[in-house]
Each structure stands twice: as structure tokens, then as C-alpha cells.
Subunit: 211 residues, 2 copies
DNA sequence: ACCTTCAAAACTGCATACAGTTTTAAAGCA
DNA sequence: TGCTTTAAAACTGTATGCAGTTTTGAAGGT
């Protein structure tokens, strides 16, 4: 239930700023308002929606400043995970990372943006796991989820696919060399560039809508 | 309401493992079960309590492994904040930090553990703010809250007070010199030592109780 | 004395109802 | 025509009741 609504937000079925009124949601999921309310509270705690007293919950639409905060935090967290992964991943994990990364080149060449986006999630998740720290994993996963609505369109830019591959290449290379500093820096730079691409789209999105 | 229960957990009025049944809480706060249920959901999302279907919520009692994760994450976050503070704090902020730090020496000398603990919170919060990043602030604050139940007793060890002051000294010094690397390292070490002191107390706590 | 079984009590999950607030829209007035 | 007022519709916040599940405790058997 919570997950269903969260997915609607993360996958972009609901746009930032959109209202989530309890009665409609209750009808949609064929339950009463009570579980809907609880789900909304949880989503609020997760930062995906915002609530004010006696008003509908709305999909969080962060200010440009806060968006910058989130991307910077994301870069720091990614760097942290890459650094720790470079120290802690097993040989098997490193080899798997390298193999999947190599295979992803085919997706880049064929321009399969959807498939590459799916692989991209797996790639990053492997690095989060490689850090061997559940709490850091939770934080980075949650931050990623909150940024998802603002990062949706990134692979529509045709150059992003190849660019992303090259950046992954640097990260993988540093992790295979067990070079924490280099892995951290490469991961940080990777997010920074995604951030630049995304803010453009966020601005476009705003102009494109009415409310 | 949420804050009231959260405070009970953070201040130690409720011990990890303790059950929070809805009816008692509703009676305690003189409301019905509905708002209590919603508060519990929120606390669950915050990680302060855990819930399973058809069972009472209980104050989160993390495993030793997860506790280690949390302290490591805390060290990384503190280091991050100290590093960014060393880069971004204004002159005024740096001077205030130094001044308050200097004043805290009196508390150490007089052995005022309670007062020093209060000052300690202010000190760290200043560094979190100095990083100029709202999302990082949220993460570090939340992690700190979740660790609070396991860090309660740290200043009871008489040597911890003086030790803490010395560690703060290193952090303040690095921030005043605008040396991000040194600030980060000092902050990281500071948490690591708190972690060592706390796990001892966590273990004691476990032995001391029945359930 | 200890374990098993079963029933009652206690509690959670959800639906519904009602009170209070906000939003909307229509009617009256300038 | 445009602004103000006011009432109704819509929605949120909370209480309460019922169904289903878990827990507790006592009775019976070994």
C-alpha cells in the first residue's frame, strides 16, 4: 500500500505538486481512509509527500535550493559508498561489477535507454551494498528515491548514455584497483553531472504545467 | 504527539525492547487510538520503533551488527559535516564555535556532566548547520536520534569528559584553520571513540534487564 | 511437577461516523 | 462588470465499533 503509492511517485505517475486526497486514494485502492492516512503519514516521514494541517498531502516539490542540497548529499553518499566498496568488496563482487559494466556497453551502443536505466539502478545498488553498511544503504536508497522524480528524464539526452558509461568506467576501474580515493572522486563527479542534467529538466517540467 | 513519544525514547524514558501498546498510549495522552496509530507509523518510518503485523510496536533494539553500522554511518556523516563546515562556515560562526568550546572547559573542570552533555549537543549541531546542506542536516540529525538510546551513559565515565574536550579541540582547530581533511578526520575519530564507549554500555544494559 | 490444549481476554487492523476546517461557488451589492 | 459576503460542498482530524489475530492463563493429561 505504502509501496504502491511510493512507486507511483518514484516512477513519475504522480508529478511533484500533485494533490493526494484521501478519499480518491481510498477509492482507488478499495480500502477505507484509515489505511490511506497511515500510508500518507509514512510517505511524509519518508519525505516523498508533504502535509499541512487540514490540507491535502501533496507530492513533495522541493525548492531549487533544497534540490541542490539533495544532489550534493547524494554525491557525498555515492562517494562514501564507492570509497567503502573499493575497500570492502569481495573479489567475486568486483568481477561481477566489471562483467555487468562491460555488458552494459551493448545497451549504450544500441541506444536502449530504458534497459540502460534499469541496469544503472542495479549498478549503483551493487556499490551501495558493497559498502557493507546497512544504515548507509538505507540513507542512500532513501535519498535516491526522493530524487527519482527529478531525475526521470536524464537518459533522454542522447549523449548521457555514453557519458554515463564512461563515468561508470572510472568508478569500476578504481574499485577494481581497490583505490578508495579515486572511487570516491569518480562517484562524486558522476552524481554532479547527473545533477546538472536534471535541474534543467526540473525547470522545464515546471514551465510545462499549469498548477 | 509524535515528538512527545520520540522524546520519551530519545531521553531514555523508554528502553529499547519496550512495548508501546496503542491503548495505554491513547489513555496516557487522552486521545483515541487513531492518532496514536499514526504517530507509531511515523516513528516506525523514523526508525525509532519497529512494528510487525498484529503485534505491538516496540522501541527499536538494534543488533550489535546494526549498531556498528549506525556508528560507522554517524562517523562518516560527522566527518562530512566537519569537512564542509571547515570550507563553508562564516568567520562569525567559527568564532562562536571557538568561544563556546573554550567556555566548555569550565564544565569539564567542574565535572558538570549534564551541562556538558547539553553543550555537546549544541556543539555538534553547529557543525551540522555549518555544512550548509539541509538534507545532510536531516540525515545526521535523524541518525543521531536513533543512536541516542545507546549513547546515553557516555559521559558517566569520568575520563570521557576531558577526552571529549580534547577531541573537540582538534575539530575546532581544524575548522578555524579551514582545513577540511583534518576536520573530517578529527570528527571521524571523535565518533569512533564514543562508539567504543557506548557499545560497552549497551552490553551492560542488556545484562541488567530481564526481558 | 511439567507439558499440552483450549478458551477467554487483550490487542491490532480497518471501516464508518461525526465534528471542525477549508475551499468553492453563487448571490447580493456597488 | 467586479467585489464582498455567505452558505454549501468537500475534505481532514478524531472517535468508536467490529472483525480477526495474538497472547494469556487455567484446566486437563502425562
Amino acid at each position: 500500500m505504502v509501496r504502491a503509492v511510493a512507486d507511483m511517485i518514484i516512477t513519475g505517475a504522480m508529478v511533484p505538486g500533485e494533490k493526494l486526497d484521501e478519499i480518491s486514494l481510498a477509492a482507488k485502492f478499495a480500502v477505507s481512509r484509515t489505511p490511506v492516512r497511515e500510508a500518507l503519514r509514512e510517505l511524509c516521514a519518508m519525505g516523498l509527500v508533504e502535509r499541512e494541517p487540514n490540507r491535502s498531502a501533496v507530492v513533495t516539490n522541493v525548492s531549487e535550493l533544497h534540490l541542490h542540497s539533495m544532489f550534493e548529499a547524494m554525491a557525498e553518499l555515492e562517494a562514501m559508498c564507492a570509497r567503502l566498496s573499493a575497500e570492502r568488496m569481495t573479489i567475486a563482487e568486483r568481477q561481477l561489477l566489471q562483467r555487468e559494466h562491460y555488458d552494459s556497453l551493448a545497451l549504450v551502443r544500441s541506444g536502449a535507454a530504458e534497459d540502460y536505466a534499469a541496469y544503472n539502478t542495479v549498478f549503483h545498488t551493487r556499490i551501495y551494498r558493497g559498502a557493507r553498511n546497512d544504515h548507509i544503504f538505507d540513507m542512500v536508497t532513501q535519498t535516491r528515491a526522493r530524487l527519482a522524480p527529478f531525475r526521470r528524464a536524464q537518459f533522454r539526452l542522447p549523449t548521457r548514455l555514453a557519458r554515463s558509461y564512461e563515468e561508470h568506467d572510472e568508478i569500476v576501474d578504481a574499485i577494481l584497483r581497490a583505490d578508495p580515493m579515486a572511487a570516491g572522486q569518480a562517484a562524486y563527479a558522476h552524481v554532479t553531472i547527473v545533477s546538472d542534467a536534471s535541474t534543467v529538466f526540473a525547470a522545464h517540467d515546471k514551465l510545462g504545467r499549469k498548477n
